[in-house]
Symmetry: C2
Subunit: 247 residues, 2 copies
């Protein structure tokens, strides 16, 4: 649904793109602009806001990079800037750049993963339904395939961890956790590749996953928390992906 | 220090701004571009990359919004696009927009804060030095001022929580935690304003902070973790900023 022109006001000061951004933010906050909505056309929106099309385009690029809107190319009725229904890759992109700049270390990522995942593990043990148990089991069963590739194994590994976060019922924790794993995905695949015998490591990973799942099924939050912490830390130690774990 | 032209290659495909972004990312990853460096001038960089100045400007705006570069206006020797030395407000901005869009709820923020902060509290109890103790004490002493305003009280409250995360020695956890608090700052100030007698709440907050600090000084990670969890949750319940806490 396109949003009517009445809600937009011309912006007044310089640093135009910041003001355009803040108008879009307040439209979102007020609920006049909602996920799934299509923004007015570039020409129309520039005119409604009283800014140049190049300033508007800068703002739209920023919103796109942050994963707030999706720009559908083409020109048909579905093309244009659409407000995303789900969080995008903004945090992954941001984190990858911050890691590239050395603002955060591998150990920082390890500690943050442990913080988010041990909390998720404890809550999953309290909240998991039999559907959650079945889905988590199905992921682990697929990881048991003896002919599995490292790529597929890593994907299912991520799916297991993210599914636990979802079981804990917190969309933000699950999103941050999934984004962290995406941001370090190449690093994890490289770490596996460095292993002399990745299938031996896979055996350990499988048995640790089964123990975590058992703690969740048995509704033991403290055990689940402890096993997840040790599992993440021991993977880092085994693969030397990080140097030393905190806590 | 400006970066030499040799490191840049003209980009080849469409979606130009994405390619410009990925070149800047690879310059950061390879270490040819470092925090504190100044990018070549807009005209020079556009020519080195073989893109239009408007495409380049879009990419720079995105990097600025993500908090990767800072654009210094003026025209003197210090003006231009500088790679930031520290993480910026990218995550705060992103989170505010996601909250505005309803991708995450107040309860999601509460759970994520507890995850990050209870981990930080446990590690702070293990790692805190006497300097950390002194600084945390100094913050709490300032919060004891009977004439303190709600605004200042909230600022010091944030300082105390972020200082614990820093004591835990994890820059990413500290950054995420600080960003989360910034994103919900107005909401927290409004929650205080809704209280019939905010000074009564302040008394409780002060005594909970002192108990957390004592657990850190006494090197009791489990107690510190538990007190922080209860402290964050009880503030939400008291102020009705969230409805129900997970875990």
């Amino acid at each position: 649904m396109a949003v009517s022109g009445a809600a937009w006001e011309p912006v007044q000061r310089s640093r135009t793109h910041e003001l355009v951004m803040s108008q879009i933010e307040s439209q979102l906050l007020s609920g006049r602009l909602k996920p799934g909505d299509t923004l007015p056309s570039e020409r129309e929106l520039a005119s409604l806001l009283g800014v140049s099309r190049s300033s508007l385009r800068e703002s739209l690029r920023v919103l796109e990079a942050l994963g707030i809107i999706e720009i559908r190319l083409g020109g048909g009725p579905d093309s244009g800037a659409v407000v995303r229904n789900e969080p995008g890759f903004g945090f992954v992109r941001l984190l990858q750049l911050e890691l590239a700049m050395g603002h955060f270390s591998d150990d920082d990522v390890l500690g943050t993963r442990i913080a988010l995942e041990e909390w998720s593990g404890a809550n999953a043990a309290t909240l998991a339904t039999s559907d959650d148990h079945a889905e988590l089991t199905a992921i682990l069963d697929r990881m048991d395939d003896p002919l599995i590739s490292t790529f597929e194994f890593n994907q299912l590994d991520t799916a297991f961890h993210v599914r636990i976060a979802e079981t804990a019922g917190n969309a933000l924790t699950a999103h941050l956790m999934g984004s962290l794993r995406l941001a370090i995905r190449q690093q994890m695949i490289d770490a596996y590749a460095r292993l002399a015998d990745w299938r031996a490591t896979a055996v350990t990973v499988r048995s640790e996953h089964r123990a975590i799942l058992a703690a969740i099924v048995d509704q033991q939050p403290d055990l689940s928390r402890k096993l997840i912490r040790e599992h993440i830390r021991s993977f880092y130690i085994r693969t030397e992906a990080g140097q030393q774990a905190t806590e």
